[in-house]
Symmetry: C2
């Protein structure tokens, strides 16, 4: 029934690179000279510390990380960071700014509002067409602790075409669904974070990258494992970190480096996204992408059928072709194809071909 190979377009947890899964599988029950596998090894052991250092150093290389930034590997997901950011960055400030670019930025803002007086820094355009907030210089109150953005909106399919100018106010970015999809100018950010289950590895791990001068502001009641400063002082080992997830993350970073680094990821991701958006734009209105050109996400291609009654049929036929997890987020409906680093170009091509065929059969 299903042609081989099949492709999973889930928004996260999402497909991981075949080479990473193969190696993680082969190592899972391979106990070392210390009688422990990567899943069973104490986090205080030198071998795990080497695993952690490898992941940290390889990630720093991929990002060309400036020396005044620290990498933290923390338990949990981006939603945890929605609280950890104000807990760690507000200090004595009253205000924090948030840009509303879609669903996840609003979730971040709602959490932030429990700690700070939230200022709306900018808002996306829309509803038709949707677009990222206008860039340029954003007016922020004096003494604003940080300005939070979501450069890629996983649910809405909106991506910022650039970065705003927030002056002296540190830019904090939830990069969950665009992390490592292309080169990033880290020095533009005070903090950037990404949960693992899109482009890093297993769910339950989040990477936080923070400029060192921002480590000095933790609130008195921030829980010990959530204190960025304490975690930086203890190399992410204030308590047992998600050891195996960090091990797999290191394998993913190796895979990206072997494939040519972030520039190569960006080039392949561009080709994949262009192929799908071309299938949408060339369908004579059969498929509709609600986001304006130039603001469309390369990670999460959001679209719908002009005739919504065909959506379930589309999903059923796609699945029969081995093209799975294409339903849009329940908040917005429609369809969504997530094209993270691990999605082969053949996957995007197979989906584009299927879309053209479905449009011919039902258009």
């Amino acid at each position: 029934m299903s042609p081989s190979p099949a492709f999973n377009f889930a928004a996260g947890p999402a497909r991981l690179p075949d080479a990473v899964l193969e190696r993680a599988r082969d190592e899972l029950f391979a106990r070392g000279p210390d009688a422990a596998s990567a899943l069973e090894r104490p986090f205080t052991d030198d071998a795990f510390r080497a695993t952690l250092a490898h992941a940290r150093e390889r990630l720093a290389e991929l990002l060309a990380l400036p020396p005044n930034y620290r990498i933290l590997f923390l338990a949990g997901g981006a939603l945890h960071q929605f609280s950890l950011v104000p807990m760690n960055l507000l200090g004595d400030a009253r205000h924090a700014a948030y840009a509303d670019s879609g669903y996840w930025s609003r979730r971040a803002m709602a959490e932030g509002a429990r700690y700070a007086d939230v200022v709306l820094a900018a808002r996306h355009a829309g509803p038709v067409p949707l677009a990222a907030p206008a860039l340029g210089r954003w007016a922020l109150p004096a003494g604003c602790a940080y300005c939070h953005i979501t450069p890629n909106e996983t649910v809405d399919g909106i991506a910022y075409p650039g970065l705003p100018d927030t002056g002296d106010v540190p830019l904090v970015a939830d990069c969950t669904s665009c992390f490592l999809t292309g080169p990033v100018e880290v020095s533009r950010f005070g903090v950037l974070y990404a949960s693992a289950q899109k482009n890093i590895g297993p769910a339950g791990l989040t990477v936080v990258i923070i400029r060192e001068d921002l480590l000095g502001r933790p609130a008195p009641r921030v829980p010990a494992p959530h204190c960025y400063r304490l975690q930086a002082e203890h190399d992410s080992c204030v308590n047992t970190p998600p050891t195996w997830a960090i091990h797999v993350a290191g394998l993913v970073f190796d895979w990206i480096a072997d494939a040519g680094g972030l520039a190569a990821m960006a080039a392949a991701n561009r080709r994949k996204a262009e192929r799908l958006y071309a299938a949408i734009d060339g369908s004579e209105g059969f498929y509709v992408a609600p986001v304006a050109t130039g603001h469309r996400s390369g990670s999460n291609v959001r679209f719908h059928l002009a005739d919504d009654r065909l959506t379930d049929l589309f999903l059923a036929e796609a699945e029969a072709h081995g093209l799975t997890h294409l339903r849009g987020h329940r908040q917005v409906g429609g369809l969504r194809a997530s094209l993270y680093n691990a999605m082969p170009e053949a996957g995007a091509a197979a989906l584009a071909d299927f879309m053209a065929g479905f449009a011919r059969r039902h258009g």
Copy 2:
């Protein structure tokens, strides 16, 4: 050099059952009809919800869980719970009680003191011999929100021989290193929690079991994914949970059930611990266990050499015999053999035999 099989006595992350590692390995790169493996499947997918329900239901069976308790699968470790407990249980109360039974209970108390006026409910005996706090009725202030205990101290090797009577004050227990090692009367507890990396599965996951009437007290600022009530309402899916760790936890629960359940675990664990303590007590003072009989942990057998200068030699020779990760926690030094459920009885026997031989050669 090293005889086969080898045994890893780490306190956690620790050895997992061979059968669980085998199955997790075989499934790791086995993509299902939806083109996703267990590591890649969206947490909103029916297949993952079935995995989650399986783990929850199987755990409830193992524990004979009363119907007014809820099981949560949360990201992070026990140290996270040290803050989550006061955040979720204090309500309008000012006081929380903590018993000091050793290192981890004091860490819990230190975190609790940032949220509550902490009352010392009881204290361990010692330093020689060490013993759990005396039981009986503990005097607690009126309106005390909860009383926190650590039934098994991983570092100190102390185990409570029973439970205290805290009257109407809910008993909260960090069961990390004794969870599932034997039957437990859940109805005696308001909350019990355990991080996964001893007896449940991969690090980065914590199980919280809470009596339903205690779900109504979250502090206004508890981060969304840390709110017990919200997580209970959303079946642990307020955000992406550590999906694969939950999958593996389900495999571990199956393994325990297949092996005869918690009574069978308790019987095997008792035999393993008795074997090691007999090796210590029968060594004519060559090995010393600092904890009083009746208070000795079955999970974490703590001992040292009467002549501490032999410790490094002991560790080196043990490692050459494939008996690894036996060094005591840096806070207390000496030696420690952790005997969680996944440690085969042959492991305890091999260590006891090695200890006898080492004592003969160097005594």
